[in-house]
């Protein structure tokens, strides 16, 4: 929420270098925060039970890498986006699947997208895939139906985009004006431009004001 992008639009050249990496101060604060959370209810007061601390992350997150904003006190318990899905990652680890011998002739890398997580398992025996799918299907059906269909006026399905590179507004205006000047300066066109002005030339007249007239005079 209150994140600053430091340099802003980068007007000053030198200002930015300072905050290059996470300072040791920030890292230390992260450590302290974690320590205080882990020691909730200990000798330290002013923390316990205040709901300040987000639920401990399931996996080890580097200190300070991700913390919900502090104003999100009400968030406790809401962090997991899909509490009702089965955690395939855990299921895989708990089971015997990872112990498949590397020499297994029919083992491949398996990538699982599930419940908002991605797991990549090397040497996954193909014989176990079916079992895994059954497990996921059994648990997952309910979760997938949460979303209610909304009809959106979207583009045609599977349509791959063909987008031209956009141009900065300021540059676009400049180039249009320049085109106008070149047109205005070209011999034989100065007169005709007044009789049959294109939409663009009109715009340019407006943009350039005095400039265009002067340029014309000079050429003639």
């Amino acid at each position: 929420m209150t994140y600053a992008e430091g340099e802003g639009s980068g007007k000053t050249t030198m200002a930015a270098a300072k905050e290059n990496s996470k300072s040791s101060f920030a890292v230390t604060c992260g450590l302290l925060s974690r320590y205080l959370r882990e020691n909730k209810g200990g000798a330290l007061h002013g923390l316990a039970g205040l709901g300040m601390a987000p639920p401990a992350p399931a996996t080890a997150v580097p200190a300070g890498a991700f913390q919900p904003p502090t104003t999100m006190n009400l968030l406790s318990g809401l962090e997991d986006p899909k509490p009702d899905t089965v955690d395939v990652e855990l299921a895989v680890h708990k089971g015997q699947l990872l112990q498949a011998p590397t020499g297994n002739q029919d083992a491949h890398q398996l990538t699982i997208f599930y419940g908002g997580k991605v797991v990549v398992v090397d040497n996954f025996p193909s014989t176990e895939v079916k079992a895994l799918l059954q497990m996921a299907n059994a648990a997952g059906d309910a979760a997938v139906d949460r979303a209610v269909p909304q009809s959106l006026p979207g583009p045609a399905e599977g349509n791959l985009p063909d987008l031209p590179i956009a141009r900065r507004n300021s540059l676009h205006r400049f180039l249009e004006k320049r085109k106008g000047r070149i047109t205005a300066k070209a011999p034989y066109q100065a007169n005709s431009s007044s009789s049959a002005p294109s939409k663009q030339a009109n715009g340019d007249k407006f943009w350039l004001g005095l400039g265009q007239e002067v340029a014309i005079k000079q050429e003639i």
Partner: protein, 594 residues
């Protein structure tokens, strides 16, 4: 802040809450300025959070819909400076219609509540009305020292008159690239008569017409005026202003209306301390006005000039002390070679895209040759943004090897040239990211085939401290995006354009990036319903879908030319403010049924 990170045990001894009195913590935190340090401190415990809030002087709100104004301002009662960003960056490229939102009104209304210390306000890409400015002036006018309206729209010179009349302590008035209704130049006259402390005035890239006499008056009354960036105005009319503005260091704008007319501009003499310069419509014949002081120039903006490649070479060879250089790609590889040989102190280099039509620009733009020359020659570069016609892995690697101070690197590969030497750029980008560990912002916009899934995975893997990324035409499949996302631990803001990813993959990718708080996407494999986007739904996460505009669909059908807003857009962001209530009817907020 330096030094080693102490172990948690030592930390406890030093900082356990009972040992350090509040007053001491106040004093210490007063010396912590870096926003990320502040953020970390506020997360330590409730007491630190409170003391941080009481001592925070500056806040940047990265996206105006991410927080409730009243709540934010109540949290930081001693705020001195506030910056708020509005519309997506795409607005600067004509991709976001004017009535999209990002209204300043709710923020300005909250500022009217007692906020005793606020003296600087910066709004970027927001819709600001005359009424908003009036409310602001009423509440903060007497205190306001800095008002920056950056690429904003919706107000008129009436608002500026009010500011000029009421904000007598204003040091900075910044209006660059704002779209302002011009009701006459009185605002500048009032500013010149009422203000004596102005340091920076910027109405560059606006269409405002002002009287040169008012500028001269301003210079006479504001002895400390250091920077003037203005709209177009013939330079021969500014002779009096330049004579009066003795302290001026920074000038941009003006215009050479009579290209080729030598004598008219001979009497233009820039003030003695000018070292930042950008002159609109400067051509070959006018260029010599810079020569007498070119060696003292630190910043040169040639984006809006008519110079040829040869002119760039000549001029830049006379500017050995440049820190900042902004040009169009007409500079060519030849010009960049001169930059590499001459500008040893260069920190920022921007190479914008010129005209694509052949014949107007005299050379083929910029390629790996020019970029390599710059990388080898300018070792202090911190910022490179370039539109290139060709690029190789080797050139990216050179940049990585020689420019290790880069904190911001942006590369766009133009789509006009048929043949590109060396795609995909997987290994080059890996080498660059591995070496440039200070990178905080990164943009890589290629063409289909420019980066494989493996390359995309490299970007994630070596994303290090990068907080902002723009990627275009990268990757080959959904898997590439997911593997990229897994690596991005610190990424906060991501923009994707023209990539082959499905909605489902986009959703999964969002869930993989723990720090991500903002994503904008245009050009993806859209489904008929957009349903799969809901996989990224979660508390405090808003998803907004914008279908292509009907007008541009029509235009495309008629002209057969792809145009910029014919593709749907997705914007999703973390927010503590709930769904926004001011969506135009062509934006659809997505959320799962309750």
């Amino acid at each position: 802040m330096g030094g080693e990170v102490p172990s948690p045990r030592r930390l406890t001894r030093a900082l356990s809450s009972s040992d350090v009195p509040d007053e001491a913590l106040h004093l210490v935190l007063a010396h912590v300025d870096a926003p990320r340090d502040r953020e970390a401190a506020s997360l330590v415990c409730r007491r630190w959070h409170r003391i941080d809030a009481l001592t925070r002087k500056h806040v940047t709100v990265g996206f105006c819909y991410a927080a409730r104004p009243a709540r934010l301002l109540a949290r930081f009662p001693t705020l001195e400076s506030l910056a708020i960003k509005g519309k997506p960056r795409a607005a600067m490229y004509g991709l976001i219609p004017d009535d999209w939102g990002a209204y300043a009104a709710p923020w300005v209304a909250a500022l009217a509540a007692p906020l005793d210390c606020l003296k600087a306000l910066k709004l970027r890409r927001m819709a600001v009305s005359d009424d908003d400015v009036a409310v602001l002036v009423r509440a903060r006018g007497h205190m306001l020292q800095e008002l920056r309206l950056d690429k904003c729209s919706g107000f008129s010179t009436d608002a500026l008159r009010l500011v000029a009349r009421s904000c007598r302590s204003l040091r900075t008035l910044f209006l660059e690239e704002c779209s302002i209704t011009d009701k006459g130049g009185e605002w500048l006259h009032e500013l010149a008569t009422n203000n004596s402390v102005l340091v920076t005035l910027n109405f560059y890239m606006t269409e405002l017409k002002v009287a040169p006499a008012d500028l001269e008056l301003l210079a006479k009354n504001c002895k400390s005026l250091l920077s003037l960036k203005m709209s177009e105005c013939d330079l021969s009319d500014l002779v009096g202003f330049f004579k009066a503005a003795n302290a001026l260091e920074d000038f941009a704008g003006g215009a050479f209306y009579e290209v080729g007319e030598l004598t008219k501009y001979e009497k233009v003499k820039f003030p003695p301390r000018v070292c930042f310069l950008g002159l609109t419509y400067m051509g070959t014949n006018e260029m010599p006005v810079i020569f007498p002081f070119s060696a003292s120039l630190k910043k040169l903006d040639l984006q809006y000039t008519f110079l040829t490649t040869e002119d760039h070479c000549q001029l830049i060879s006379k500017c050995p002390n440049l820190f900042v250089l902004e040009v169009r790609n007409v500079i060519g590889d030849r010009g960049l070679q001169v930059v590499g040989d001459t500008c040893k102190k260069l920190r920022r280099l921007r190479i914008e895209r010129g005209d694509d039509e052949p014949g107007l620009e005299e050379e083929q733009g910029v390629s790996q040759l020019g970029l390599t020359a710059v990388a080898v020659g300018c070792r202090d570069l911190e910022y490179i943004a370039a539109y290139v016609s060709d690029i190789t892995n080797g050139a990216l690697e050179s940049i990585g090897t020689f420019c290790q101070n880069l904190y911001d690197f942006r590369l766009v590969l133009l789509d006009r040239q048929k043949q590109v030497t060396d795609l995909p750029l997987d290994n080059g980008v890996r080498a660059l990211l591995r070496s440039c560990t200070k990178l905080r912002r990164f943009a890589f916009y290629l063409r289909p085939g420019g980066l494989s899934d493996t390359g995309l995975e490299y970007i994630g893997q070596y994303s290090g401290n990068i907080q902002y990324m723009l990627l275009g035409n990268v990757g080959e499949s959904d898997l590439g995006l997911i593997r990229f996302a897994i690596g991005c631990t610190n990424l906060r803001k991501l923009e994707l354009r023209s990539c082959c990813f499905s909605e489902r993959a986009l959703s999964l990718a969002v869930l993989q990036m723990p720090s991500l708080r903002y994503i904008w996407v245009q050009g993806y494999k859209a489904s008929a319903t957009g349903l799969e986007l809901l996989h990224m739904a979660r508390p405090f996460w808003n998803i907004e879908f914008t279908p292509p505009s009907p007008e541009s669909m029509l235009r495309m059908a008629v002209d057969r030319e792809p145009c910029v807003d014919t593709q749907a857009q997705i914007l999703a962001y973390r927010s503590l403010a709930g769904q926004r209530s001011d969506c135009p009817d062509w934006v659809t907020p997505l959320h799962p049924a309750a």
